[in-house]
Amino acid sequence: MTFALEIALVVFVVVSAVAVAFLRDVLGAIVVFASFTLGLAMIWVILQAPDVALTEAAVGAGVMSVLFLLTVARTTRTEGDEGYLRPVNFKALAIVFVLFVILLATVPALPEVGDPNAPAVQETVDGAQTPYGVADDNRTPYGYYIEQTPIDAGIRNAVAAVLVVYRGLDTFGEAVVVFSAIVGVLVVLRREEAR
């Protein structure tokens, strides 16, 4: 049952992306893109990433669509050419195909979806010594976060703990990226000084 839902979502997401590629109408492309984002958000839910799903829906589908719509309102909706769909661009297809084949060649080396033996979901690592001689700790970052979150931070959501406690600099950087966006937009649109 879940698998059928997953396949339906995957098909939906891929079809939406392809539709964006061939739609000429920018407004239509934006709407389809928003549904693409929502499809992804549902996949995040299935893959047990509710924090990411919430963000994807709020930021990806919500904020992003509003910004795109504002841009279309300030510029123009048509591409300026006739027709409903774009023709296939074989030159672009060739470039993309090369990348696709390179990626596809690595598929057999990747762990299966949900493989409990994948390195990324191991709690401990044997053999390899950790850097800087932390000898008695053979936990992977995953094992460390799962075990330490309630102890170190006294909270349940490991995502919040990793976000703020364990990888605070990433989060600071992320906040700065957001801040850079408004600074950049002010510079670009020359609306820097106060009213």
Binding site: P108, L110, P111, T130, E174, V176, V187, R190, E193
Partner: protein, 496 residues
């Protein structure tokens, strides 16, 4: 281990926190951004200098953020590879302010972006975590795109947009590479990854794929051939001050990251174990050297000429990191620093010549030395240093890279470096010859009427000229001190 590790985090946080001040101040005051930037970057330079001194005295500096032990948390590292890059960022960020003081842009938001770019560059240079690196690369990118577009005309906006589209693809390719590395190991710390990769074996498909995508993404950011196309347009559309700053630092730091990733994450053992990939990287670099030089020779626009010359120089630096023996790596580091100083100052010098007499193309440089003796002397010295006339830093860098290439069995690279030097000499001599032996065919007023930037709106201060001349002196003096610098860096520790 030194106690000054915390400074690594502080020097990243100061410019970023200071970046909020120009925006807050803009509620009351106009044009205070410059002062805020100057004060905070001066403080930052002092702190950086303390950290750099601590490195020279005690060796590698580390700071584990949040007190979380690696590989679970993020660490900042200053070692022989990054120390000069960090110092370079701090110095150049402050120095370019001398130029923008009068030449502008002068809006408060501009200086916010300027400070954010500085903080981002320092973060990229210092972090020891692959994903954290991505975050700082994006901060750097965002600020750089905004600064390029700060000129305010359509061309700069369009060039910045193109830069952004290509740059983001590069960053995303890098992220795909990080994904492969993470799936293979479950960790993101650079040193931990190098340990895990060794366990996995250097022939593992996931390890090889991660290497390919990470290097490809960074090559886009560094503007190597054939993914260099964004760079000449972006540099030539930007204001001169921004072009100087961005050309000195943004690609430089990306090239540094290539070196960092090769030496720290994948290690020289990986390079030795995969000769095909290694030589592909080196020959790609060599191709960039050739194409960059050839395109530079064909340009009439001075900004574009300087931009294409960067494509060539970064080809050499990346080839050096691909060769990855001690001579080549040191040559790469010296060339990184030397190129940044020379190219940044050349853009600022070209700016002065453009502000004063509207000189933008090679033909406008006829006899310009008679009108502007000091700026021309600085510009010509820098240009010759760029060619690699001994004893300037350009020569030393090429010498070490060439030496490393020969030692590593890459004869062709040595030949290519020599050949490209001749090409560089060709276009630099074309400029210098016109500047000193050409007859001034038209006066300043005429040039202004021709669409040049009028001298009245863009004043040139003594400081701006002095900055170019100081950079010229530094680029000459750095050359003979290379052996001393090499002893300070202890690069053998980085190379394991």
């Amino acid at each position: 281990m030194s106690d000054f590790g915390f400074l690594l985090a502080v020097v990243i946080l100061i410019p970023i926190a200071a970046a909020t001040l120009p925006l807050i101040a803009s509620l009351r005051y106009e044009k205070v951004g410059w002062h805020i930037a100057a004060v905070s970057l001066a403080v930052n330079l002092v702190l950086t200098a303390v950290a750099v001194r601590a490195f020279f005295v005690d060796g590698k500096l580390r700071h584990e953020l949040g007190g979380i032990p690696v590989p679970h948390g993020i660490e900042l590292v200053m070692d022989g590879l990054s120390v000069l890059v960090v110092l370079l960022v701090s110095v150049v960020a402050l120095a370019v302010l001398v130029h923008t003081r009068t030449a502008g842009p002068r809006s408060n938001a501009f200086y916010s972006a300027y400070l954010l770019l500085t903080g981002g560059l320092l973060g990229v240079s210092l972090t020891g975590d692959l994903f954290n690196l991505y975050v700082f690369i994006e901060i750097t990118g965002l600020a750089a795109y905004a600064l390029i577009a700060s000129k305010g005309d359509g061309k700069s906006a369009y060039s910045a947009l193109k830069y952004m589209l290509i740059g983001t693809v590069g960053a995303s390719l890098y992220l795909i590479g990080v994904g492969y590395a993470f799936i293979a190991t479950g960790t993101l710390n650079m040193v931990d990854l190098s340990v895990q990769f060794q366990e996995l074996g250097y022939g593992d498909t996931l390890v090889l794929t991660s290497f390919g995508f990470i290097i490809a993404g960074l090559a886009v950011k560094t503007a190597l051939f054939p993914v260099h196309t964004w760079q000449p347009d972006a540099y030539s559309a930007a204001p001169y001050g921004v072009a100087g700053y961005v050309s000195a630092l943004v690609s430089t730091v990306s090239a540094y990251v290539i070196g960092r990733v090769i030496l720290t994450v994948y290690t020289t053992d990986f390079i030795a174990a995969n000769p095909v990939i290694t030589s592909a990287l080196v020959y790609f670099g060599a191709l960039s050297i050739v194409v960059g030089s050839v395109l530079a020779v064909t340009q009439a626009d001075v900004k574009k000429m300087l931009a294409y010359s960067s494509v060539s120089q970064f080809g050499m630096i990346v080839a050096a990191f691909g060769i990855a023996n001690s001579a080549a790596v040191f040559g790469g580091v010296i060339q990184l620093i030397g190129h940044a100083i020379m190219k940044g100052a050349l853009f600022l010098g070209a700016g002065i010549l453009a502000y004063k007499v509207g000189a933008k193309t090679v033909y406008d440089y006829e006899g310009i030395s008679f009108e502007l003796p000091y700026a021309s002397a600085g510009f010509a010295t820098l240009a010759l240093a760029l060619v690699g006339v001994p004893p300037a830093v350009g020569f030393i860098g090429k010498w070490y890279v060439g030496l490393g290439a020969v030692q590593g069995g890459y004869w062709i690279v040595a030949v290519v470096i020599f050949g490209s030097t001749l090409l560089t000499l060709a276009y630099v001599l074309r400029l210098v010859d016109r500047m000193y032996f050409g007859k001034p065919e038209r006066g300043a007023a005429e040039a202004v009427a021709d669409g040049g930037v009028s001298a009245s709106t863009k004043r040139v201060t003594v400081g701006m000229v002095a900055l170019v001349c100081v950079a010229a002196v530094v680029s000459v003096v750095l050359g003979p001190s290379a052996a001393w610098i090499e002893s300070l860096l202890r690069l053998e520790e980085v190379m394991g």
